[in-house]
């Protein structure tokens, strides 16, 4: 049985294509059932996120399976296959396993290490499990992918640092304040990055927002958006001491906040720490403010440097993660190939044969007055018994191997008789003699 992957991602397709092939999250039953009703497709999982659409399936015939999956994607979304095909990638065997492990571990993401993808694949698998389109192979495969992702997460620092300026600011604030839930954010001026950062602070628990702007109406508008308080620009220093985190991005040509101002503010705050983030160019806040006790000033360049070094760290961690993936592929592949019929029959036979030999030896050792002739007959008898016993399962296995769900039997046999997952090569050879 083979694992086949067909899909497209942000690396191969633009958003115009991706949105056309996306599957609606709440209507997965129809496409999943359609997939498993295709000839030779026995199991299927559909992963559909804003950055990728992928189908994982099992099929006996690799090339045929891939072709069917491609055709399915095109037909289901009513796109000509010629349009879709250049964006599609296909994997099978070890490459398919590596691909899915890498995707789950967020090594193939647009932002390497982003945490959402694992949850999205878990949801996708959830649908397949609910509609019973995933079976023994994909179940085990995806659970393995989850555990690989977990290993990567715990053993590397791939997701431990912020890779956007706004997130970097939030992480810094957490290293200063620990808990943001009683902290107030002040926005001075407006600007996309400033608002984005303010949103991040609110999402991370910040208590409230104050907004000030040279145009009071704009401040009011923005304050309303954030459910905060608008402050007149001239009253800035009457309110500044109430803010713990200050985001500044005015168009002022000179510094609007200097060290003296901040010293006064700090006195009113009883030296409670403050975190200033200066996003404006030219800068709004005098860099000397950073020298005031318990005050931390970061400019947009500082934050960008943090992001750059985090990205570099992620790239280094990604190498470790790739090693983990490689290790795990070997293990899983071993299991997958053990589902093949021939080695299973060999293993089953040798398990019986070993037992027969051992028991026979024991009997002969205790029963010394047997003639060589009688010993031979005993040997023949035991051989005949196990051959008779093994005949029906062997032929059933060979028959189902022609097209049915042999992997189910194989897995069951291996568990019931405690057979090794990967029999040595030479035993396979023996059977073919």
């Amino acid at each position: 049985m083979n694992i086949v992957v067909v899909g497209l991602s942000h690396k191969t397709a633009s958003v115009e294509i991706r949105e056309k092939v996306a599957f609606a999250p709440n209507q997965m039953e129809k496409p999943l059932q359609a997939l498993v009703s295709l000839p030779d497709i026995t199991e299927a999982v559909i992963v559909s996120t804003c950055n990728r659409v992928e189908v994982y399936a099992t099929s006996r015939d690799i090339a045929g399976g891939m072709a069917r999956l491609k055709r399915f994607l095109a037909d289901y979304h009513h796109i000509p296959l010629e349009t879709l095909e250049p964006h599609l990638y296909t994997h099978h065997g070890e490459a398919a396993i590596r691909h899915v492990f890498r995707v789950s571990a967020s090594l193939d993401s647009m932002v390497v290490g982003e945490p959402q993808i694992l949850g999205q694949i878990k949801t996708a698998y959830g649908y397949a499990a609910e509609y019973k389109t995933s079976g023994i192979i994909l179940n085990r495969f995806l659970h393995k992918a989850f555990s690989v992702a977990k290993r990567v997460r715990t053993e590397t620092k791939i997701a431990s640092s912020a890779v956007s300026v706004a997130f970097a600011a939030v992480e810094l604030a957490k290293k200063i304040f620990d808990d943001l839930s009683d902290k107030t954010v002040m926005l001075i001026g407006a600007g996309e990055m400033c608002e984005l950062a303010a949103k991040h602070f609110l999402n991370n628990g910040a208590r409230g927002v104050m907004v000030t702007n040279r145009t009071f109406e704009r401040a009011e508008k923005l304050a309303e958006e954030f459910d905060g308080k608008a402050v007149r620009f001239d009253d800035l220093f009457d309110y500044l001491h109430k803010a713990d985190i200050v985001l500044s991005s005015t168009g002022a040509p000179h510094f609007i906040i200097g060290p003296r101002d901040v010293e006064n503010v700090m006195r009113r705050r009883k030296l409670k720490p403050m975190f200033f983030i200066d996003i404006a160019v030219p800068r709004d806040i005098d860099p000397k403010v950073n020298d005031v006790e318990n005050v931390y000033l970061y400019t947009v360049d500082d934050l960008q440097e943090v992001v750059a070094s985090n990205l570099q760290q992620r790239a280094e961690e990604a190498k470790k993660a790739e090693d983990i993936v490689s290790q795990e592929i070997g293990q899983f592949f071993k299991w997958l190939s053990s589902l093949d019929i021939t080695p299973t029959i060999v293993a089953l036979r040798s398990r019986f044969e070993e037992t027969r030999q051992a028991e026979l030896a024991k009997t002969l050792a205790n029963w010394k007055d047997l003639t060589p002739e009688e010993q031979k007959r005993l040997e023949a008898l035991t051989s005949a018994i196990i051959n008779k016993l093994l005949h029906p399962p062997t032929s059933v296995l060979k028959q189902t191997g022609q097209g049915g769900r042999a992997d189910l039997y194989v897995d069951a046999l291996r568990n019931l008789f405690d057979l090794e997952t990967a029999p040595p090569e030479e035993e396979v050879g023996e059977l073919e003699e």
Binding site: S160, K174, K175, I176, L271, P273, E293, E305
Partner: protein
């Protein structure tokens, strides 16, 4: 038996310290858990050692430098375990357990023999005074560890050098909070220690306060921490200033505890000085009581 307990404690503290230092390099949850178990096991063994010694000597074992250093170490580990559980910062152990280990190591330098207690000092106040004092010292030792961490983290944030160490250290607020919490517990303990000491002095020597160096330095230590507490409560000294004062306070405290005994003659230092005078032929003057009191016999 006693020596076995002592050296097994020392051994476990050593392993626990190594584990905590390893945690500093590789902050894995399991390593932190393991370190926590180790230090807790060491603490229980240390308690057993102290109890055994108590039964053997028939008094609180804090009467010579060996016992005192060991008890100091025990209190630090005890206070650390409580604080660490409350704040869930394994990494604090990387800064505090080495202090406890070093104190234990230093205590091995001093003679371990149980010496007969100066009859004047035999009192229930011995247990009260010393235990309270040592737990006070221990809270300040943990505050010291947190303050060092604060200064390191503050340096990273100010200079914008946000390396691996910055990632591992807790937030400034948390460290400052630990510092403050320790102060609010340590200061009353220190105050109690001084008061109970004065009462004990009154029963032993007939005078509450005799300005011997230990008393003087205890008072200096008390003033340093009083200043810190006052500053915190009124003008909001916090963060860096508070951390620096906690570090200064701890050094003054260490001097009060060890330096005074070794360098300045006085009522508290009888045994250690005797030991030094006898064994090292040191230039220290053979101790004579500054306060002459009929109940208080000569130095040996």
């Amino acid at each position: 038996m006693n020596a076995v307990l002592f050296y097994s404690t020392l051994g476990i503290y050593f392993v626990a310290t190594v584990a905590y230092l390893a945690y500093l390099i590789k902050p894995r949850e399991t390593l932190g858990q393991a370190s926590r178990w180790l230090i807790t096991a060491g603490f229980l063994l240390h308690c057993a050692f102290t109890l055994d010694r108590y039964l053997e000597a028939g008094r609180t074992p804090i009467t010579n430098l060996h016992e005192s250093l060991s008890f100091f170490s025990l209190s630090i580990v005890g206070v650390f375990i409580i604080i660490e559980r409350k704040y869930k910062v394994f990494i604090l152990g990387s800064f505090v357990t080495p202090v406890a280990l070093i104190l234990m190591l230093v205590s091995t330098i001093f003679p371990t023999a149980i010496t007969p207690l100066n009859p004047a000092l035999k009192s229930k106040w011995l247990a009260v005074h010393t235990t309270v004092a040592f737990f006070g010292y221990a809270t300040f030792a943990v505050a010291f560890g947190a303050a060092i961490m604060y200064l390191i983290q503050e340096h990273f944030l100010k200079s914008k050098k946000l390396g691996a160490m910055y990632q591992k250290l807790p937030s400034l607020d948390k460290l400052d909070d630990i510092n403050y919490r320790c102060l609010t517990f340590g200061f009353p303990l220190l105050t109690l220690a001084i008061i109970s000491g004065a009462i004990w002095a009154e029963t032993a020597w007939g005078t509450y306060w005799s300005w011997d160096p230990k008393e003087t330095w205890s008072l200096i230590t008390w003033f340093v921490y009083a200043a810190l507490l006052h500053g915190r409560l009124t003008t909001g000294w916090r963060g860096k200033k508070a951390a620096i004062l906690a570090i200064i306070g701890f050094f003054v405290l260490l001097f009060t505890f060890i330096g005074v005994n070794l360098l300045l003659p006085g009522l508290h230092s009888a045994q250690s000085l005797d030991f030094l005078a006898r064994t090292k032929k040191s230039s220290f003057p053979i101790w004579k009581p500054i306060v002459s009191h009929p109940d208080f016999p000569d130095g040996n």
